[in-house]
Subunit: 251 residues, 2 copies
DNA sequence: TAGATTGTTAATCGATTAACAATC
DNA sequence: TAGATTGTTAATCGATTAACAATC
């Protein structure tokens, strides 16, 4: 969330279009919950219903929704379709955003094939890789194109979002090229801290960080109730001869 | 972060092993930064150096490290190797955690092949899928095994962490099975809110949510400086006949 | 000793939550 | 009107940040 913050002082008024970051991060969760309710033919839902579906408490949900406006009816609840549309509009997924994926290794492949690319709202316009061996390969109904075409594609298709699925090494360079080409939002899967200029948003998805956070809590559980995960058998701990899962992401 | 909170009142004393969640989430980032410095042969680093490498400000970094103890030297900085070990120990990655991956579709495949599985600290002990067509398939040096073997594997290998890479549909059922088998930490890639009992930690990685958060900010940029991403050509907006990237994750 | 840098304090900011008045 | 549920207030909690005394 490297966002150039340009906020005036004073309390955030609703009309000032200043929705707290924590709320913004939950809007997509509410959107998904509403879509699920809608698919189940449910026309109206209380904040309690919605909160349950979204996995938050109802006070938080009501507070979050209050930043968007007053879309509920006291004593009744929320109209599922109406609220869904309002949230989709607020997030900006009533229009389609053009996306490029750079780095067609295992992960890039997986993302390229990922059907529910955000329940619409996004459109992959190109899969790019610098490796000539990959260029031309078909994935689903797309073809991998040369990374050198980036600038043309970004301009032609008005691409504003780039997804980086390269290894750590080339990620910063790829990032710089994306930014120079005009991309202003980046989703980074490479395990590096990328630096971008003000005005460019960057978000990071990092498997090993997530696992490490789980490990931290896991370590502290062992004593409490369940059995420890640290094996009592000395030979098993850390010295495993199981291979460390080779491969490499390979862009 | 559905963690059974069992905190006594009062300010968090350093010795009370109560590191703030926000700090815990950054420790892996510091660990990675230290590893990079170490790989570059740097033996000592100031909080400023480290903060730059980790992409945070130095005040935050020092505050974070202060929860672990006093591992720096005033006027000098931090010994890279020493601090790296201390953080690794605090996180719990000086030991190996056994991990199972459930759902060997595109994403499961990608994760199974992912080499740097957290710069060590984790060991994939099984790839599981309920689809008989997948069972037996080799991925790297592992073989996909039947999901029915879950309980045996968890017990035998003392698995505490499960990664769910199934589609949304079966995810809750898979989750329940993991929990019943004794898994107490779950990393969920399926686009659903999973419910777990107290004492089980769950973290979620969600591509489409990340993209939607970017879209929200992107939408609000358009007016400001750069060109709008909403095409001026009416025919291009939302009505694209480009296929919505079909496929399905398929467990 | 002078310069550098940590570890900690205290102020500030933002997020969460419970409670309830407004109102359907 | 009585019951239900929203939208908002206010209290609380946790996270960030700047500043600086401690100390190498």
């Amino acid at each position: 969330m490297t966002r150039a913050s340009s906020r005036r002082p004073g309390p955030p008024t609703r009309t000032e279009r200043g929705i707290p970051e924590a709320t913004v991060a939950r809007l997509p969760v509410y959107l998904r919950a509403l879509t699920a309710l809608s698919d189940n033919g449910i026309a109206t839902a209380s904040s309690e219903d919605l909160a349950t579906a979204a996995g938050v408490n109802s006070a938080k949900l009501r507070k979050d929704l209050s930043y968007l406006g007053s879309y509920g009816t006291r004593g009744v609840g929320y109209d599922v379709e109406y609220l869904r549309y309002q949230i989709a509009r607020e997030i900006g997924v009533t229009q389609d955003w053009a996306v490029v994926i750079v780095g067609i290794g295992n992960l890039g492949h997986a993302l390229a094939n990922y059907s529910g690319f955000g329940t619409r709202g996004f459109r992959i316009v190109a899969l790019l890789d610098a490796d000539p061996k990959l260029v031309g390969e078909r994935i689903g109904d797309m073809e991998v194109r040369d990374f050198a075409e980036l600038e043309d594609i970004v301009e032609r298709d008005r691409v504003s979002i780039g997804v980086i699925t390269t290894p750590a090494g080339p990620a910063q360079e790829v990032c710089d090229r994306l930014v120079a080409a005009g991309v202003t939002s980046i989703l980074n899967f490479a395990p590096v801290v990328l630096s971008v200029p003000d005005g460019v948003d960057i978000r990071k998805v990092d498997l090993s960080i997530e696992l490490q956070i789980l490990a931290y809590h896991e370590q502290r559980k062992s004593g409490e109730a369940a059995l420890p995960q640290v094996p009592e058998l000395p030979a098993m701990n850390g010295l495993s001869d199981l291979p460390s899962v080779g491969g490499g992401v390979g862009a």
